[in-house]
Symmetry: C2
Subunit: 443 residues, 2 copies
């Protein structure tokens, strides 16, 4: 029987950094990663296969990461964990023992319980290359696509599918697209941008039935209206893959595998990270539904470092991400204003907008807007949103650093920033600092 110091199950945004981090911190340990897929798509890049990038082959996580980090790769499916024997048994008939085991089994797209959902040409954002290739090929002869769900997966798919020519309609049950990530002003801007790019948006509505015989021909909405559709894409969330953990009698709940702040499961030798894991909010300590590749990698870096020595603790998830619609970038960190209020926080709010170059005539200028949400009780930053050009994607990480360090508006207003005419706002107009000042002084 083969034997490894560390076995990682799963080879995407959690499994890979868990294995790499284990390698970095424990250079003498033997590490195997077992995944069932021959090729693994870059998860966040999946929407871009269909427009910008153009093929699944150009959106793969390169396997060089394994040889470069002295990690053994086994392509096989783990069918059970024998906790007493500390070994795993695979579909290929292997029994391999471990000292420490990492579960990063991910999540599957959520299926909607609606009539006709099983028809041919209903697609999801599955991390499966041949499945995605099938969707890619089918798009060549398609006139109408309906996207169910106006969250960031739905919005990104809609924008990319639209580039291939079909008529695309988003159906969102909330009053606005992207409402779980952004406050209403930015949701409106996103919707306007999508519409200007030819995408139809139907909000406050839901798909009640997928129409057609075996193959999709359309959808019927809650208000009775019918839309033609050759393809329906469903992007309404994910459910954690917990079957293996459940079978091994590890504690799980509907949010995923239960872990402590060291990312350890109820078995001392088994850790878990990524979409398969139950999460707690950094702000409230309550269960969080956030599932992001960036959260998976953060958790994986805690797991990888903690395997043989207690080194890191999870602080809970803050939720930091960006999305792009053409040249419009929207980014968010922590709680929205609405979420903060729904969770009982008394908040103060400030926003500032300025050109992201100075003078504004410098090339490539976008108007960048930052809004910040502070907990009035503690004074601490609990949320921030950015709307602007490309660099909104890095600016949100500055905001995330401020949140993680529980900075107050005064801290942020005094925080030393660097600026340059060709790449940022002026130091006088710098949006992050001015949004903090506005939160302090506008009342």
């Amino acid at each position: 029987m083969n034997n490894y110091d560390v076995i990682v199950i799963g080879g995407s945004a959690a499994g890979i950094p868990a294995a790499i981090t284990a390698r970095r911190h424990y250079p003498d340990k033997s590490i195997m990663l077992i995944r069932k897929e021959g090729k693994v798509p870059i998860p966040c890049g999946i929407p871009y296969i269909f427009g910008t990038v153009g093929s699944t082959d150009k959106n793969l996580i390169p396997d060089a990461v394994f040889s470069n980090n002295d990690i053994e790769l086994l392509i096989d499916e783990v069918q059970s964990i024998e906790r007493k024997a500390k070994s795993v048994v695979t579909a290929g008939g292997e029994r391999i023992s471990y000292d420490k085991l990492v579960l990063s089994t991910g999540a599957e797209p959520l299926q909607l319980p609606i009539k006709g959902i099983d028809k041919e040409n209903v697609f999801y954002a599955k991390k499966d290359v041949s499945y995605l290739d099938d969707l890619l090929h089918k798009l060549d002869n398609v006139r109408n696509v309906v996207v169910i769900g106006g969250g960031f997966i739905g919005v990104e798919f809609a924008d990319e599918l639209n580039k291939r020519g079909p008529n695309v309609t988003i159906i969102e049950m909330l009053p606005r697209c992207l409402m779980l990530a952004f406050d209403e002003d930015l949701c409106i801007e996103a919707e306007e941008k999508l519409k200007s790019r030819g995408i139809n948006i139907v909000t406050n509505n839901r798909v009640e039935e997928i129409l057609g015989n075996e193959i999709v021909t359309g959808v019927r909405l809650a208000d009775g209206k019918e839309l033609m559709a050759d393809i329906v894409f469903v992007g309404v969330g994910v459910i954690p893959n917990i079957a293996l953990a459940e079978k091994a009698d590890l504690e799980v709940n509907h949010g995923g595998i239960v872990v402590d702040s060291n990312m350890k499961t109820t078995d001392d030798n088994i850790f878990a990270c990524g979409d398969c894991v139950d999460k707690k909010s950094f702000f409230t300590g309550k269960q969080s539904g956030l599932r992001l590749a960036s959260i998976a990698t953060t958790e994986a870096r805690i797991v990888g470092a903690n395997l043989f020595e207690q080194r890191r603790k999870s602080q809970g998830v803050t939720g930091v991400f960006s999305t792009a619609i053409g040249d419009l970038v929207l980014a968010t960190a922590g709680l929205t204003n609405k979420q903060a209020q729904d969770n009982g926080f008394n908040v103060t709010y400030g926003e500032a907008e300025a050109p992201d170059r100075h003078p504004g005539g410098m090339p490539g200028m976008s108007k960048m807007k930052v809004s910040l949400i502070f907990n009035k009780g503690t004074g601490e930053l609990i949320g921030g949103q950015v709307r602007g050009g490309t660099c909104a994607g890095e600016l949100i990480n500055t905001i995330s650093a401020c949140i993680n360090n529980r900075m107050t508006a005064d801290d942020i207003a005094m925080f030393q920033i660097g600026t340059h005419p060709a790449v940022t706002a002026s130091p006088i107009a710098y949006q992050l600092v001015n949004a903090a000042e506005m939160a302090l002084t506008k009342q």
Copy 2:
């Protein structure tokens, strides 16, 4: 006699945010800003007047900032401060009394004590519109320009002047350009980029004499070599404008006006901020020679808030800035590796490079490199550098937030970042996090 609650002297990167911050925090106070210039150029934008932007008029700080913030603007020169009477006397014959006074008198370009420095067509980065217009007009008929100083001012001027056609040569006395801001690998990349754009670089050398009769015709270097020059641009640093403070018998030293951590001078009713102020390093507590518009604005925000209530304290200067040479952006925060070692820090160092898109085939990709320098004793981040595309200018501010919060490599490795295919590296490859991991584990 006129009377204001607050008088601010100086209308650039320190004076303006000092007045705005005072307005925000003290809405009922009367505020006057006195400056001697009719028009004020955006200081960091001055090099770009000569190439990218093309005119001084397109690089002005808009005076709307005063009316928008209910700040009285007086264009006049303060000649003396009567501390007992709490009033200022101007060249225009005004005597205006204050409750609180803010000195933001800035700095002047340093003149080199070399033979011939007073000849016509020796220029500096003066914040003076008609002076800059004069340089702009003269550039139309120029074949050779020598830039003395390969710091960021010299490099930016060289790159912009080069766009107007003349043959441009930088003379730097250190072994590399930009050596006070970056470690050698990035200095080499900067020099290679400058050379590829047609700029000549002479290092380890200095100008000993400016040649010509009344008008510059060339320079003679320390090694005896002579270079032709129709214009010489000198960018070798600044000296603080302290004459007014000195005359008023406030404590000053060769670094500038002496202030406490509240940014208060030796007079309880007089504050000072910006280039005119003596500075201390965030890292060592020792005097710092850093002079940046972004530091000026940070200090101004401390002054503005502290005028009538002790609210903020200066932590000393970290030094955060970016520069751009075409599509190459270099950014730095805190100490370089060399500076850290020169200051007696025992350091660990980590770096990581990755495409700033994922997959790398996404449009607009640059290779972004982050290096981080940690104090081995405390584990805290004390410096970081970024080389990459446009968004290096925001990423350096995330690094600055990490420095300001004294984050360790473990803190940064667990820090929740947001990523997106169109705007950042992948979460697995995210450079900041991986540089922290490398610093922890490569030893």
